[in-house]
Symmetry: C2
Subunit: 156 residues, 2 copies
């Protein structure tokens, strides 16, 4: 959290700028802007860690001890539904397995959580980007998300 009267770093300025945008967008969307929501958004916008709900909660606790974990869960869900933030791992609810060891991709239905295989050569990964040279890359997967035939028909 930025401290008044102190010089802010560039990254902190960037974060504060994102928060202004967030407040503006929240109002447009009819969402109430509460101190908890600002704290949660700030924590996320100021982090490069792609934090979990628990991590966000713990960080906020330090300066806002009364906040509830439930609030963090509910708020992140709301933000995500409104398009203010995104979930890195759509399929976080439970481990999903595959006996097919051929290289292939997946498409998941955001409504019914069905996963289907996808063989598509138009998604090609050519060479390692310098940005990830310090990683020992083991593999990669492409996950499409969408709405499947059946869920489109049910349109709910």
């Amino acid at each position: 959290m930025p401290i008044k009267g102190q010089i802010m770093k560039n990254s902190e300025l960037r974060t504060e700028n994102k928060i202004s945008q967030f407040i503006k967008r929240s109002k447009e969307l009819g969402l109430k802007v509460t101190p908890q929501r600002i704290a949660i958004y700030r924590e996320l916008a100021g982090s490069m860690q792609h934090p979990s709900t628990e991590m966000i909660y713990k960080n906020i606790k330090d300066y806002y001890p009364n906040i509830s974990l439930t609030t963090v869960y509910r708020t992140l869900e709301t933000f995500e539904k409104m398009g203010l933030i995104s979930v890195v791992n759509t399929l976080y609810h439970a481990a999903r397995y595959d006996a097919n060891m051929e290289p292939h991709h997946h498409v998941v239905c955001v409504k019914c959580k069905k996963i289907e295989d996808l063989y598509d050569d138009s998604i090609a990964y050519s060479e390692l980007d310098p940005q990830i040279d310090n990683y020992k890359i083991l593999g990669y997967s492409v996950l499409f998300s969408g709405i499947c035939e059946e869920c489109k028909t049910l349109n709910n």
Copy 2:
């Protein structure tokens, strides 16, 4: 489960073939081939659903009521570690969020579960594959997995 004396469908033959391979590979790896393990592998190999642990357990229960959910959890973990099957959603343990709404990809460290952003134009998705035309595609994400600098150094 295929029934003796009945004509098998092509898909069932394919599944039984995969099971033979699985048994052979298990022996090579020094894994014991138990009825439970065959049942779990068959359930996965015969399914297009990318089932969760619970789904596999429930299906097996129908004809093998004594099997334990713990066994299914432990067995899937073992299979995955040995490279017999794979997890579709590496980051299933907890939801991870991102305030960065720009299109970008991610790289996750399989050891410490750290996620980093990745901007890479060499991963390009050109056009929708006919296979997923019946989906209303909302987006896609590329997730690289590997071992990060720090975890490489710790080499454990």
